[in-house]
């Protein structure tokens, strides 16, 4: 069950794995995520599905080494099994034909963005995608994104690839030159916050896909709560996508950092072993 059949290193800390999960491959939709657990002492962590192959019965996940759980997952090799894998979870992305869609992906957020870009394109939209990363080696899935985008703009913080600058600069450039009907953003919380501020100025409807801390992923625990438009919502069952203009990103960032000291302790304990 859940055997890893392919593994690719995108960078030192970012790995793509392809896992056997025939039922999830069949039932997943863009925007859905899974919960994985590695080892009998493992933690349950959510990961957005980056793609699926129904014929082969596999799904792909892109993981960035951050703490103990993601390190354990990244350290698995082809032939190893993921102890537990469950999904698909969350509400799928609502895809319509709207005209021009601006898709903004940052860091590993490009992985979950890919199936959404594909779906928008297939629904008959013009899709302009902006990929943002700190530097060249952290730009991932560029070729795959190009396949489903009318145009791809790469932005790097250090200018080592594409244009030098922040994602919002690329967004402003697109918005200046053409009418954008909808925007979708996936990446670090701080990036999504500024993407949302940018599109709000221009009144462009925007959704952000959130990566919250979760335990069960089915609405049971409420660890993933987020304030949207003044109301508490659960990222796992109400999301993971919400109206980016209404999300309280500051609260969300504080909640994401809620276990920092504990996570550090776990990491030290893990490295000692």
């Amino acid at each position: 069950m859940n055997k890893i059949v392919e593994k690719e290193h995108f960078s030192e800390r970012v790995v793509k794995i392809v896992v056997e999960a025939p039922l999830i491959a069949k039932s997943r939709k863009p925007g859905n995520f899974v919960i994985v657990r590695v080892g009998e002492q493992g933690e349950r962590i959510p990961l957005t599905i980056a793609g699926a192959d129904i014929q082969k019965g596999t799904i792909s996940l892109v993981v960035q080494k951050m703490g103990v759980s993601t390190t354990k997952l990244c350290d698995l090799e082809v032939g190893d099994c993921i102890t537990d894998l469950v999904g698909p979870l969350g509400q799928p992305t609502e895809i319509h034909q709207v005209g021009t869609v601006l898709a903004c992906g940052g860091g590993v957020g490009v992985a979950p963005l890919l199936p959404i870009v594909e779906a928008y394109k297939k629904a008959g939209n013009r899709v302009v995608t902006i990929l943002a990363a700190r530097s060249k080696e952290l730009v991932i899935l560029e070729d795959e994104v190009r396949k489903w985008s009318d145009e791809v703009i790469v932005m790097t913080d250090d200018g080592s690839y594409g244009k030098k600058g922040l994602i919002t600069e690329g967004m402003e450039e697109v918005i200046r030159r053409e009418k954008v009907d909808e925007c979708v953003t996936i990446g670090p919380a701080i990036m999504m916050k500024f993407c949302a501020l940018t599109t709000k100025k221009h009144a462009i409807p925007t959704v952000a896909s959130l990566n919250a801390i979760m335990v069960d992923g089915t609405g049971m625990c409420g660890a993933c709560r987020v304030t949207v438009g003044g109301k508490t919502r659960f990222t796992c069952v109400d999301g993971p996508e919400f109206d980016a203009h209404k999300i309280d990103f500051d609260e969300m960032m504080a909640r994401l950092a809620g276990y920092k000291p504990e996570e550090q302790e776990k990491m030290e304990h893990f490295l000692q072993q």
Binding site: Q41, D84, L85, V215, C221, T232, V237, R255, K266
Partner: protein, 500 residues
């Protein structure tokens, strides 16, 4: 399967029972004092989440307690049991020292006797209907302790009897959720000869018995043995499978499942929508208990963290609140406090749990309600603003309504807060099944005595129907649903009736 009233009466006249009845005079039976359950000392037990509070009675103690039972002509105790356990039947076997046989009697109607013996509110059910309580106003026969002893005796003896199962009829039924209701249903249906598969969303089988109820009340090993027992009877378990998401109900129909029992539980934790409730350090009881009980966050080797605090506030007065506050104590809290808006008398928690919590040093701030949470450093809660309450007129629940006292607010320090004010039904099935009648509270509507929903092949029970109840009521629903689904399927598919 269970016996009819007539059979129970007939059984009472069997020679061994008559002999036993004559062995002791009624007066002598009544002269015996109710047994006292030995407990691990509070200072000792709060050192670990995994030390069970109630320890074991001896053989002599249980045989003497069983002697108290009058073997009534009309065993009213049975009326108090939602799964109709043959109570005198198993108690009288204990009186004779036949503990294995007593366990077999329990398993005729209950899939989880070792669980029920620990977590059932017997004082409100079987024991409340005991002759001693009803006629003598004296402590009931300790039916719960005896049940627990018989189930534990069998488990520890290593020779576990597997109940007789009818010849397989080849009809596949699916169970959604592996909590007490689903397990109880599965046990009955497998006995009737059905091919039963239980689907569970989490990675462990057992539902609330695993993620919710702490090990100091119900050790996981006890639950696992009962699950293993069902597995030996032929029940199949599939973990990491969310019906409605991983595969739809229609997919399962295509795979040959003829009927469904939905026991997906109470999914969504309720919050109070007060300022600051999303600060770090504020948990739902579901999250707090799941991190510790299911994920083992109390153990350093577990990858799952949980926040610990010197001062912990738990909001609520039910069993889940008691489980949470006692867990906080075991995670090292110096002050672990219950904040409850009514008085101790109205608390829905079992008396035994409140008693154990008090022994362990839990503080009770009653007639108190949180109105705001105040942040300290890094967006973590540091204080709770509490408003005092007084009791007004009784409300719909029959309990006196708590009324806030204006201007009575004060602050207490707390770096962890657990909100245990109830749960709403899990929306996954109600949201994904077309044509299913759902109440405005999100519970699945069923025909009361049949547990059958607006979709004839879909039955439901437990918290997804009740909104929030006890393990034993959920199990009772499972038994009712099994009996009625069996009738329904027999009619529909003309299955040859094959009794056990």
């Amino acid at each position: 399967m269970e016996r009819s009233d007539e059979q129970i009466k007939k059984e009472r006249k069997q020679p061994w029972r008559v002999e036993l009845q004559k062995k002791n005079k009624a007066k002598d039976r009544m002269a015996i004092q109710r047994v006292v359950m030995p407990e691990v000392e509070p200072e000792e037990r709060i050192k670990s989440q995994r030390i069970e509070v109630n320890s074991q009675l001896t053989k002599e103690q249980v045989m003497q307690e069983a002697t108290r039972c009058m073997d009534c002509v009309n065993p009213t105790c049975m009326e108090g049991c939602p799964v109709s356990i043959n109570i005198p039947g198993f108690i009288k076997r204990i009186e004779r020292g036949e503990f294995q046989e007593a366990a077999s009697v329990l398993k005729e109607t209950s899939a989880l006797p070792a669980v029920c013996g620990r977590v059932c509110p017997q004082e409100k059910q079987c024991e409340a209907k005991c002759f001693y309580v009803e006629k003598l106003n004296r402590p009931a026969v300790a039916i719960g302790y005896l049940e627990r002893f018989a189930a534990d005796y069998e488990r520890e003896s290593g020779t576990i009897s597997v109940p007789v199962v009818a010849e397989a009829n080849g009809v596949k039924v699916a169970v959604v959720g592996s909590g007490p209701s689903g397990l109880s249903f599965a046990g009955d249906m497998i006995k009737l000869g059905y091919e039963v598969t239980v689907f569970e969303a989490l990675h462990e089988i057992g539902g609330v018995l695993k993620y919710g109820i702490p090990e100091f009340r119900l050790p996981n090993a006890v639950v696992d043995v009962e699950i293993e027992n069902l597995r030996m009877m032929g029940v199949k378990f599939v973990a990491n499978f969310i019906v409605g998401q991983t595969a739809s109900l229609d997919d399962l129909k295509e795979a040959g499942f003829k009927a469904f029992y939905v026991a997906s539980g109470a999914g969504l934790p309720r919050f109070m929508n007060i300022p600051g409730e999303n600060l770090n350090g504020i948990f739902s009881s579901n999250e707090y208990l799941t991190r510790v009980n299911l994920m083992g966050a109390d153990n350093v080797d577990s990858d799952t963290p949980v926040l610990r605090g010197k001062n912990v506030v738990v909001v609520g007065g039910g069993n889940t609140a008691m489980d949470s506050v006692r867990t906080a104590k075991r995670l090292g809290a110096e002050r672990a406090m219950i904040v409850y808006r009514r008085s101790k008398e109205e608390m829905p928690a079992r008396k035994e749990e409140v008693h154990h919590a008090l022994q362990e040093g839990v503080e009770f701030l009653t007639l108190s309600n949180p109105v705001e949470y105040i942040a300290g450093e890094n967006g973590r809660v540091s204080q709770v603003k509490i408003q005092k309450m007084e009791l007004g007129e009784p409300d719909a629940s029959g309990r006196r309504r708590p009324v806030p006292i204006e201007g009575s607010e004060y602050l207490i320090d707390a770096s962890v807060v657990v909100v245990a004010v109830g749960v709403s039904p899990n929306p996954l099935i109600p949201n994904t099944v077309k044509g299913l009648n759902v109440s405005k509270w999100g519970t699945i509507e069923v025909e009361q005595d049949k547990m059958q929903s607006s979709i004839p092949e879909l039955f439901a029970g437990g918290d997804i129907v009740r909104g929030g109840a006890t393990v034993i009521l959920a199990m009772g629903d499972g038994r009712k649903a099994a009996a009625n689904m069996d009738n329904y399927l027999k009619k529909k598919h003309q299955i040859q009736a094959r009794g056990v």
